[in-house]
Symmetry: C2
Subunit: 288 residues, 2 copies
């Protein structure tokens, strides 16, 4: 059975393991803090590749940032990774094929192949974490766009400039639907800069009405975004993944979305491919 | 050379002509007011088909409303057409193949084959008229979604319910980017229900600053929508068509969009396939 050495390169952590062609994680999970310099990132990749490349058929990398249509490198700067990350020649690290895909795209592919969106014609995956990522699959293909950067969840929630987004623009879906957004919702509602996402979640657990209202406002913004995406893509399903997905009520989201769209009903589901979906999706793509 | 009898069925007018497989309009343009009853709509279609079907290879219909993935009929109600329009069995009118496509989708296809988006990998067409239609082409295929209804431009411009959209929901792009929207912008700015889209356009021509501001606000909302679409689809180009497209400044739109997106620059262009793009696109699809 074919195997890939898989990486998940994010702004704070780099993971690495070995995954087989059916999507099973068969290696140990190696974990590193993402270094602050380009050279140190390269060093981690090189060391892992030297260690494992003889045991595998390909190197599969799920990474932050938009990946080009040749799946060889990252386009432009990613915000969360060091400057110059887009200049890395990943193929130079190995004689085996080195395959890259954006982490949310890779996770969407894992959900499509072994997870919550299996059998769908059109699916939209949203990763709700510190930020919001997107991966869209249409007729058995990832939506990549002209340059590879499609699926970015930076459409506006307000046309009158209220909240600055991490991308530099204003009022993108990301800054209303992410974990960061939930903290901002709480700051605004409570007039307190020190409140954390954790405080909101704990408050909700303890039945604190203020915190429940804050969570509902956040969930409502997610609903508003999904309505627009559903009218645009007419997807069979919208998959929610990432650390914040556990705090939404998919039944409420599904019912509210389906009561207010011009297309036929969609299904809202929590991702099932697990924490390593990015690496699994990248491995499945690299070994396909 | 193969030919199609083509129709464009809209809320106010039905057009019909003959189009060849290269997209040339080779027939007279027949024009009818759209009847208020289902039977009268059927009668127009039947009469035209009886008259011309022996001269053509297929019947090609561009229609208001979402068209199913089999291209045989309309899904649900369309708002602009009589109730029961979705029950019409279009194939029953002819022994030749009867092919349907949504009018904005068909127009997008015409632009892609003979117009402003030729050679593009990903294109988004917006029809700016009384309402706003959308047609998205990805890798040589129209984006249809699970049911055929994809490409609907009903994503939100505000998350806090300001302006009711014609679809029954709130604050969709359509109700900020259409001709109807420009009238609403003028009503709000001037506090006068009697102002028309025409008044705004005339005012702009005469250098009226209030009217110029109203037009700019409308164009700015179009820009905000296109930013979101560009981040989602990463298109080579966004094509603007419909009766209102002549009033926008594509250079301003392009420069503002490209200065505020997370993907690579896109190109904003006015449609070039002409007023019969819907019929042309439907004919090209039917004869392909």
């Amino acid at each position: 059975m074919k195997k890939a050495l898989a990486f998940d390169i994010g702004g704070t952590k780099i993971y690495s393991t070995i995954i087989d062609e059916t999507g099973n994680v068969i290696g140990e999970i190696d974990k590193f803090s993402t270094p602050k310099t380009l050279d140190d990132i390269k060093k981690i990749l090189k060391n892992q590749i030297v260690k494992y490349e003889n045991d595998v058929d390909a190197i599969a990398i799920a990474t932050a940032g938009a990946v080009n249509n040749e799946n060889t490198g990252v386009i432009g700067s990613t915000g969360n990774l060091v400057q110059g990350y887009n200049t890395i020649d990943f193929q130079s690290f190995s004689n085996k094929k080195v395959f890259l895909e954006n982490d949310a795209n890779a996770a969407a592919w894992a959900e499509y192949k072994i997870g919550a969106s299996r059998g769908s014609k059109v699916s939209v995956l949203l990763t709700l974490g510190t930020g919001v990522g997107g991966g869209i699959i249409i007729n058995d293909k990832l939506l990549k766009g002209k340059s590879g950067a499609a699926g970015e969840m930076h459409f506006k929630m307000y046309a009158d400039k209220r909240r600055k987004c991490t991308c530099g623009s204003w009022d993108c879906f990301e800054i209303y639907a992410s974990g960061t957004a939930l903290k901002l919702d709480a700051e605004e509602a409570l007039g307190n800069k020190d409140v954390s996402t954790y405080d909101v979640i704990e408050g909700v657990k303890n039945g604190d009405k203020k915190m429940i209202n804050i969570l509902n406002r956040w969930q409502n913004d997610i609903i508003i975004g999904i309505k627009g995406l559903t009218n645009l893509f007419d997807p069979d399903c919208v998959i929610l993944s990432g650390s914040m997905a556990q705090f939404v009520d998919t039944k409420v989201i599904e019912s509210e979305v389906n009561s207010d769209i011009v297309t036929t009903p969609t299904s809202i589901r929590i991702a099932t491919a697990g924490n390593y979906a990015g690496m699994i999706g990248a491995a499945l793509l690299a070994l396909a």
